[in-house]
């Protein structure tokens, strides 16, 4: 969750900011911090590091935005409702889940005790369907490639 908070702070936005506004802020920040604008080497390096964070933050914030979720909701619903859990990893308060269909998702702000209940639940997918998949901020980190 800290990551989300940090990124939102960088963009000075809230969870209700829409994609169009996020994009406007991204454009402004990218112009402001483009490394080629700076002649001084130290400033250039600093601007490059800053731009890198801005790009990461933007793509991250896009990946958890309601618009992104709405666009891939059917895929997500199908995966989360029907696919079993192949693998998982809990780090910080982020839970990484690999589904049987090959897709990978991250869930943010998962409490330690929720995680403990998950590993003791006997049926991972069923527990996660009830207590994780629909109640946490998530993003897709890997989609099995679909070739036409």
């Amino acid at each position: 969750m800290k990551r989300i908070t940090d990124y939102r702070k960088l963009f000075e936005i809230t969870k209700d900011t829409d994609l169009a506004e996020l994009k406007l802020i991204y454009r402004r920040l990218m112009k402001e911090w483009h490394p080629d604008k700076f002649a001084d080497e130290t400033l250039k390096t600093e601007a490059e590091a800053k731009s890198k964070v801005i790009i990461e933050a933007y793509h991250f914030l896009v990946s958890i935005s309601p618009e992104t979720h709405a666009a891939s909701l059917e895929d997500y619903k199908l995966t989360s409702a029907t696919s079993g859990i192949d693998d998982f990893l809990y780090k910080g308060s982020t839970l990484h889940i690999t589904f049987n269909d090959g897709s990978k998702y991250e869930y943010f702000g998962v409490q330690k005790n929720t995680y403990n209940k998950l590993i003791n639940s006997g049926n991972l997918a069923r527990f996660a369907r009830r207590h994780i998949f629909d109640s946490h901020i998530y993003r897709n980190v890997f989609k099995p490639t679909a070739v036409e």
Binding site: R27, M30, F142
Partner: protein
């Protein structure tokens, strides 16, 4: 300094597209930059260009996360077209490193020359072309 006749930039982020295009133009190394917003647009274009015996790009800068057909999809399809392309195309993955596993996965693919961490700067781009 080697110059490049044709370069493809494949990325759905139009702000990055704009800045990268301007940066690359300022280096004056590349004669023509073609921009595509997803893998499918680029594959369809390549496919047609091959059929019409048009010149192939020398360098492709490829983002991974894109709608419709992402960078991985592009690479898979590129592999199918490759036997029909008579020359080496250097493919660089554009990375914004929010998914570190992507870089590992990309490096394991033979057709990927290397990856570039965004943003693209003049120095970075020049260094990349020097290494070709």
């Amino acid at each position: 300094m080697k110059t490049i006749d044709s370069l493809y930039l494949i990325d759905d982020d139009d702000i990055f597209q704009f800045l990268a295009q301007r940066t690359i133009e300022e280096t004056k190394i590349v004669s023509q930059i073609k921009i595509f917003s997803n893998g499918k647009e680029a594959i369809d274009f390549l496919d047609k260009a091959i059929a019409n015996l048009e010149p192939m790009p020398e360098v492709i800068l490829l983002d991974l996360s894109m709608p419709i057909m992402d960078g991985w999809g592009f690479l898979e399809n590129f592999l199918l077209l490759k036997p029909k392309i008579g020359k080496k195309i250097y493919i660089y993955i554009l990375s914004s490193s929010i998914n570190p596993s992507d870089i590992e996965r990309a490096q394991a693919i033979n057709d990927v020359t290397d990856y570039v961490v965004k943003p693209i700067t003049k120095d970075k781009f020049i260094a990349l072309i020097k290494n070709l």
